[in-house]
Symmetry: C2
Subunit: 313 residues, 2 copies
């Protein structure tokens, strides 16, 4: 049964998730993944964060490009361009199998069931579950107007400034049964918020009805791992997003953003706070480009949650 519940978005979250999976038995870990970035494109349901986590855990991800499958081919996209189709969203030939099969099965099955089957086929041993089986769509209110997430993220390369973020459908969305099961399970020891974009990747998960209450009700440590090194995001717009909404991309800023939810914070040494914060902070090297570093950080995070648990009892 789940001892560690990890909340993750895409690339950054997938890296720590890989490390956690390397440290923990399949039964001991549940990774709940943001689906706010999901969208329908060319009639296909695309779930970028789920696929990034699954490809990473299966060792099939392209580490250089940062997304999609290793050894991918691009014949589809070239043919699509010839046909005048929209090519702004990168769809590799192998990746497409996931989108086509998932879209087809979603006509009659819920997302978490489909995901569970398909990811098992990829060789993912640990539980990777969508935050919800219901559609939640991240909409970004920017200085250029309201944009659907992928329009902001891929089409506009995150150029516009954020004014607000809205998760369409979230009021009516239920957390997935697997998420609830892990969260309510008697063996749960800690909840790890992975180094994903707090505003675009983690907020949709925490914003699901009842999830904040359930997290606070559990008497297990909740630890957030910072996605920043030296006050900047390693990838993506997380630092700018936080600033746009009035938070600094620092230990203090993250604590203020995640309060009162978290009990501990893991930050990069370069971001270690000058003076003590209200919660324990563990400073280490959070740059984890390879599996060895990912497993190392995961081990440190697990040890940190262990110390927090011990302090409580």
């Amino acid at each position: 049964m789940t001892r560690i519940l990890a909340l993750a978005g895409g690339v950054g979250g997938a890296k720590l998730a890989y490390g956690l999976a390397a440290r923990l038995d399949p039964a001991a870990l549940t990774i709940v993944v943001n689906t706010g970035d999901d969208f329908d494109h060319l009639g296909l349901r695309i779930c970028p964060d789920l696929d990034t986590v699954a490809y990473t855990l299966a060792g099939l991800n392209d580490r250089e490009r940062g997304w999609g499958l290793d050894g991918e081919s691009w014949t589809f996209l070239a043919a699509l361009e010839r046909l005048g189709g929209e090519t702004w969203f990168g769809l590799g030939d192998g990746d497409l199998a996931m989108h086509v099969l998932r879209t087809c099965r979603l006509r009659t099955e819920r997302l978490s069931k489909v995901i569970s089957d398909l990811f098992a086929r990829l060789g993912v041993a640990h539980r990777v579950v969508p935050m919800s089986d219901d559609p939640v769509r991240t909409m970004v209110l920017t200085d250029e107007g309201l944009l659907a997430f992928q329009n902001y993220f891929v089409r506009r390369h995150c150029a516009p400034s954020l004014r607000a973020v809205r998760f369409e459908g979230i009021e009516a969305a239920a957390a997935s049964p697997e998420f609830i099961e892990a969260l309510e399970g008697p063996e749960l020891e800690a909840i790890v918020i992975c180094p994903s974009n707090p505003i675009l990747s983690i907020a949709p998960i925490l914003g699901l009805p009842g999830i904040g209450e359930r997290l606070r009700a559990r008497r297990v440590p909740v630890v957030a791992v910072s996605p920043f090194v030296g006050g900047a995001a390693l990838k993506g717009p997380a630092a700018r997003n936080l600033r746009d909404l009035g938070f600094e991309p620092t230990a203090e800023g993250l604590l203020r953003y995640y309060a009162p939810l978290i009990d501990g914070l893991v930050v990069d040494r370069s971001d270690a706070p000058g003076e003590a914060l209200d919660i324990p902070v563990f400073a280490t090297d959070i740059l984890i480009p390879d599996p060895v570093a990912q497993a190392r950080l995961a081990g440190e995070v697990l040890a940190f949650t262990g110390r927090l648990r011990a302090d409580r009892s």
Copy 2:
């Protein structure tokens, strides 16, 4: 305006269609293509005959394999297999762009409009139109039971014997506007039935409500080109299909099958009838593996239809 109306199925029909396109201005030719083989697979609408004709006319077809695109890659199918998806139907990575884009556009547009746009993008200059915008699905009653066309054709490799063929939906299907327009146009000079499977590829077109009557009402020659050489089909089950339904794969058999619709028959020299039939027969080399041979046969067919017209006046 259309002078020559060609009726075609897949590979064999596409070869003569290529020859006709080489001989005729785009405005002078309309190629009406069977859609009875169309089916939904993995949530995608596949139109095998339409695509074969278009890929061939655009010079993009793989001539060795006999179907699909030249220079195709197969990453999707390999990934689909890994995911446990159905791989019995060959879907190339580039080919997939057609299926995905068409399926997406069919939600709001009729097939002939979508086809017209997409085929123009491929560089097809001549009009290639579906026989109908409405679904017609060829069902094959065999000694192993009733099979959907692709199950019979691809999955079962045409192994079962035919007892009957049924075109589901045909009573309610309307010939496409472009088909009717070509058929009723004042410039029409001849109708050419391409060397496609008479029972599986041509019968659905001729079986559309009112098409037989309209064809007979036109006072232009209707010429069928035999798909046989030496009493055998070059490819596919056409010869066996005819025999299963009580017709011989010969000039006499084709005349009996197509009567009273056709006014002339083009057969291979090896199949030239021993004695005169009720209609003019032109014997030539109907093996047309390459563009030069295809244009040569098309020229002969057009000249034959010209002579039939001259004889009438």
